[in-house]
């Protein structure tokens, strides 16, 4: 008599694989109530994960857009001839952190200032012949935190020699936005982490209940001579199927509702869209949807095996 495993035929490995898959499906269907509970749990957890991620990336994007709109103004001395302005423009554009450079003429500066005043705009426009404002280059950087470095560079001797007499920036606003951005990143990371932990706990608990309700079945299988692996695989696959289904439905529902929600927010809070825009669906979901689905599959499979462990000691 042989109490050790014998070399397995390849055909029996294939047969077993089909058996495990068939058992997983049959079991999920036969225990449909628990399967539905598990799917709903994973759907909720995956949805929370996707929502947290969407909120995080959109906040980051909105702040990035606001940051980059807060510009630097490099004021040009009146003595610099117009022919030299191209040289200054190119020198500023060549700076790595600079995203955009716009020339603002003295007249345009005056008109812009007049527009910003509620009263007295007529008086300001009366100064056209004696315009106190100078030509300038408005400089937009990629990131707010780069502003200081760019300001320092524009204030350096190189640019002073070219004709830059003063560099102005909205320092306080920049620092405020940087702080808000960092805070938002931390909050969203915490939300995503807490959601992930809660998801693991909820999914594991649901699957434990499912497995506990079938402990007699597991015990019988062990008495008949099934190896731990033979017992685990159908449960593992069943957990993976359920996790995959729940997460896929969550990703699909989120992808469909995301543009509707964005549209509703844009309508209700138009002041937000005046200064920044939300990311489109195709920039959010190609990243988070596969992550959510793979996480659902792995969580389902691992939770099932984790829950099984104590029933295999027969």
């Amino acid at each position: 008599m042989n109490f050790f495993p014998t070399r397995r035929r390849f055909s029996s490995v294939i047969n077993n694989a089909f058996f495990y898959i068939a058992e997983a499906f049959k079991s999920a269907l036969k225990n449909s109530l628990m399967s539905v509970c598990s799917i709903i749990t994973i759907f909720i957890c995956a949805s929370l994960l996707i929502i947290s991620y969407s909120v995080a990336v959109n906040i980051r994007e909105c702040l990035r857009q606001i940051e980059s709109a807060v510009g630097i103004a490099a004021i040009i001395d009146d003595s610099v001839p117009d022919e030299e302005l191209d040289k200054i423009y190119n020198a500023i554009a060549d700076i790595d952190d600079v995203k955009e450079v716009h020339f603002v003429s003295a007249q345009a500066a005056l008109a812009s200032f007049a527009d910003s005043l509620e009263e007295g705009s007529d008086i300001v426009m009366g100064l056209e012949n004696d315009n106190p404002l100078r030509r300038s280059f408005e400089v937009v950087v990629y990131r707010a935190k780069d502003q200081k470095a760019v300001v320092k560079l524009l204030s350096s001797e190189t640019f002073v020699d070219m004709g830059v007499v003063k560099v102005r920036q909205a320092q306080d606003v920049t620092e405020f936005l940087e702080g808000v951005s960092n805070f938002a990143n931390i909050v969203c990371a915490v939300i995503i982490f807490v959601t992930a932990v809660l998801s693991v706990i909820l999914i594991t608990t649901t699957i434990k209940i499912t497995v506990a309700s079938r402990k007699n079945e597991i015990t019988i299988m062990k008495y008949v001579g099934a190896t731990d692996s033979f017992v685990k695989w159908p449960f593992r696959l069943e957990g993976a199927f359920i996790g995959g289904i729940g997460a896929t439905v969550a990703a699909a529902v989120s992808a469909i509702t995301y543009p509707l929600i964005v549209h509703a927010i844009s309508e209700q809070f138009s002041f937000i869209t005046n200064i920044a825009s939300f990311l489109p669906t195709e920039e959010v979901f190609p990243i988070i949807a596969p992550i959510a689905i793979i996480s659902g599959i792995l969580l389902g499979a691992l939770s099932a095996v984790g829950a099984l462990r104590k029933y295999l000691e027969v």
């Binding site: 008599m1 042989n2 109490f3 050790f4 495993p5 397995r8 035929r9 055909s11 029996s12 047969n15 077993n16 058996f19 049959k26 079991s27 036969k30 007699n216 079945e217 015990t219 019988i220 299988m221 062990k222 008495y223 008949v224 001579g225 099934a226 190896t227 731990d228 033979f230 027969v314």
Partner: protein, 225 residues
């Protein structure tokens, strides 16, 4: 085939399941293990299945000490031992055919082997017409026949039956015991733990009587002999 050498089993509660028990069973032999509740019958079955470990002594199956069988190889030991329980222990969500086929599936039997052996085994226990029924649709006697079919489909050298007629009426009990006797005639070593004294006496087989974990008597030809 099976040999117990000075085996003692003490449970965590301090209760002695078996005390220094020694006996041997030859290949192809039929053995009744009788005794009142708590005498050690089920403990003996559990020790052979390695569901429990003895505190002392040796249990040899086919000359091999099963203490040397590691946890991961216990399934391969159990595949050599068919088991029938008092409460049948059928998989409720599988049909009769699937319950019996499962025992072959775990041994990597091919589809062809399963299709050949399962119907033949069901015919042997008289249930070939119930192949598509579920356990809940069967009587107690029929369920026990399915359990027996599952236990013997792989033609194991040893068959254990722990109170196989405990939940059955006298007529059905007798039918099950006759089936067990038929199985033994095919060459399997059969151990039946029971307290159905009338059946034991009528079958005139070897009997080991246990009381309080020790062997009281070891006789052949029935208990009253």
């Amino acid at each position: 085939m099976i040999r117990f050498k000075n085996v003692t089993k003490i449970y965590d509660t301090g209760i002695k399941g078996l005390k220094n028990v020694s006996f041997s069973v030859e290949k192809g032999e039929f053995l009744f293990i009788v005794g009142p509740s708590g005498s050690g019958k089920s403990t003996l079955i559990k020790l052979i299945l390695k569901e429990e470990e003895p505190q002392s002594g040796e249990i040899l199956i086919d000359g091999q000490n099963i203490a040397n069988v590691s946890h991961k190889n216990v399934p391969y030991l159990r595949r050599q031992i068919g088991v029938v329980f008092q409460d049948f222990r059928l998989l409720p969500n599988k049909t009769v055919y699937e319950n019996v086929a499962f025992a072959m599936q775990i041994t990597d039997a091919t589809h062809r082997e399963i299709k050949r052996n399962v119907p033949a085994t069901l015919s042997m226990v008289g249930l070939h017409k119930k192949a598509r029924s579920y356990p809940r649709q069967l009587s107690g006697g029929e369920q026990q026949r399915v359990a027996l079919a599952r236990a013997i489909v792989n033609r194991p050298p040893i068959l254990l039956a722990d109170e196989p007629t405990g939940n059955l009426d006298p007529d059905t009990s007798w039918e099950i015991m006759m089936l067990l006797s038929d199985v033994q005639k095919q060459g399997m070593t059969v151990l039946v733990a029971t307290h159905a004294w009338d059946i034991v006496d009528n079958m005139k087989k070897r009997v080991i009587a246990l009381k309080n974990g020790t062997i009281l008597r070891d006789v052949k030809g029935g208990y009253e002999n």
